[in-house]
């Protein structure tokens, strides 16, 4: 086999074969990704989950490769012992994923449901266009996290960069640290909670009124993910000056009509 030295995105192997190197023990399995290419890792993961009936996978040495654990559409548990590169765990529907290192840009992009917990930091565009599920980053996140968010919850233990929640349409962002400029710029709907300082609010993002439902949500999420006692948050919502936005999903609209 030719050694591919540069293909971090996994594009150079259209005909890659499943490596089948995992140690399978009943419903759980583990494998070392150190010497595997991006495509081989994803093929192995799919083989385990879809063909071998495995429900719990541990992957060691992911080595910050890009696009790992993407497009998994089944209920399962995956643990990455290490860091992921760009586009990690995107387009997933169902899995519970734990990443012990950090993730690069665009992690959990367009995720439909499930849980992703990142112990380290995350890059920019974390949980972009998130549709559902929970994304928990214990460290800090880069710029434009939750851009175009359409549902679900993003929880950030550290600080967040500029334009967090840019054009967000639904869902919740909970940030325990400080936030950069342009928070919630051009948001349509949804809620952003910030415990630290806000550098500046974006266009049409305004402080919101705190309700018991907010307290309940935050306490519940902190309890589930073992984040300790929640700090005091400020709440930000859309001022709805710029937009008249119909926030119903197509299926909900049918019910109303």
């Amino acid at each position: 086999m030719t050694q591919i030295t540069y293909d971090a995105r996994g594009l150079a192997e259209p005909f890659a074969e499943i490596p089948k190197v995992s140690k399978i023990d009943g419903e759980s399995a583990r494998f070392d990704a150190k010497d595997l290419t991006t495509r081989a890792i994803n093929l192995e993961l799919r083989w385990l989950l879809y063909e071998e009936g495995v429900k719990e996978v541990e992957i060691s040495n992911p080595g910050s490769k890009h696009s790992l654990g993407v497009g998994i559409l089944t209920r399962c548990r995956i643990r990455f012992a290490g860091s992921l590169g760009y586009f990690g765990c995107g387009l997933i529907d169902g899995p519970e994923i734990h990443i012990t290192g950090r993730v690069g840009w665009s992690a959990c992009e367009n995720m439909m449901s499930g849980v992703v917990v990142v112990d380290g930091n995350a890059g920019s565009l974390t949980a972009a266009a998130l549709r559902g599920g929970d994304v928990v980053v214990k460290g800090r996140v880069g710029a434009r996290s939750g851009i175009d968010q359409k549902g679900g919850t993003i929880i950030v233990g550290g600080s967040a960069g500029s334009m967090t929640g840019f054009m967000m349409q639904r869902g919740r962002i909970i940030i325990c640290g400080d936030v950069g400029p342009g928070l919630g710029d051009s948001m349509y709907d949804g809620t952003i909670y910030v415990a630290g300082k806000v550098k500046s609010l974006g266009i049409d993002c305004v402080p919101g009124e705190w309700t018991d439902a907010d307290t309940e949500l935050i306490e519940r999420k902190f309890r589930i993910y073992g984040l300790g006692a929640p700090p005091e948050f400020q709440k930000f919502v859309c001022g709805k000056v710029l937009y008249n936005y119909d926030n119903l999903e197509p299926s909900e609209r049918k019910l109303v009509l």
Binding site: A8, K65, W105
Partner: protein, 311 residues
């Protein structure tokens, strides 16, 4: 898209940075396969100046008299250096068109660079006591092999893989850019500058020269201008955040400093790893992993951040 990388050893110890930068850049080949460039900082040999220059670009037509012209121009460069009072120590032919000269000289560097660049197709790629810029078409391993970089040991380096968007695919358009005529300063950039022509006209009126149509060259020349006026690298970089418009993450290096600046949108990526003896930064973490084999903790700097490390 482009990919940038930087590495600096804080204690000033010598390392095989030619090999290390190659591993970093090769792992980011997908960010820019057009050309690859290095700015490497080695140990000055007997306090000599090192000049890297080229006498033809990748796109220069290879006419019948091409080889003969190269030879003629090369001897003109050497005779011009000598006429200015430079004592040439060694001349290395890296490729048929790219050369490395080490010489002893204590006169005006701008005069010397201008005199060399007056020769048709000649471009001074770098000039300094420890800086050496190597750039050519192809991926990192190609350039590494062509220029024999495995021999290179030094304290810090930056590198660039280019996906050409603003100007031609040639060596003149490849990064890093030397901060003409300021010795030992180089820049790599990922992004686009939107007030390029305004700055280019302004700097040309101030007597700076531009060798390419690439917007990134502005940053190097801009920093050189500010530093000539007495600013430190950090001050010049701070000022650039307000004066340069566009999206950028750029890394600038001097003989003992390495700095990075991000625009106000944080539009271009950068991952940073800091340890007690090493600082490594790159567009993607996979490049840092290429030289650090244990688990590491990295983060992305935020918008309008300027960070400078000294060796």
């Amino acid at each position: 898209m482009c990919g940038i990388a930087g590495i600096i050893y804080r204690d000033g110890s010598q390392h095989p940075i030619g090999d290390e930068m190659t591993s970093m850049l090769q792992s980011m080949k997908h960010r820019g396969p057009d050309s690859t460039g290095y700015a490497l900082y080695g140990t000055p040999e007997n306090g000599n100046l090192v000049m890297r220059y080229k006498l033809a670009d990748a796109n220069t037509p290879r006419d019948f008299d091409f080889e003969e012209k190269l030879g003629r121009h090369r001897s003109i460069v050497e005779s011009r250096l000598e006429s200015l009072g430079a004592r040439i120590d060694a001349v290395d032919e890296e490729t048929s068109y790219a050369f490395r000269v080490s010489f002893d000289f204590d006169g005006d560097l701008k005069l010397l660079a201008d005199f060399v660049e007056d020769i048709p197709d000649a471009e001074v790629l770098s000039l300094g006591r420890s800086l050496e810029i190597v750039k050519d078409l192809g991926d990192a391993e190609t350039v590494h092999g062509q220029y024999g970089l495995s021999e290179f040991r030094g304290t810090h380096a930056i590198g660039h893989v280019r996906m050409a968007t603003e100007s031609e695919v040639d060596i003149a358009g490849a990064h890093p850019y030397w901060a003409y005529p300021y010795s030992d300063v180089a820049v790599v950039h990922n992004g686009q500058l939107t007030n390029y022509f305004m700055w280019r006209r302004r700097l040309e009126r101030a007597g700076r020269r531009f060798m390419s149509e690439c917007d990134s060259e502005i940053i190097a020349v801009y920093l050189a201008q500010e530093m000539t006026n007495g600013a430190s690298l950090e001050e010049a970089m701070d000022k650039s955040l307000d004066e340069l418009d566009g999206v950028f993450t750029y890394i600038a290096v001097t003989k003992d400093e390495l700095g990075v600046a991000k625009d106000e949108l944080a539009a271009k990526p950068l991952v940073l790893y800091e340890s007690d003896d090493l600082v490594a930064l790159a567009s993607e973490e996979i490049a840092i992993r290429a030289i650090v084999d244990h688990e590491i903790d990295t983060y992305d700097p935020y918008e309008r951040e300027v960070l400078v490390w000294k060796r």
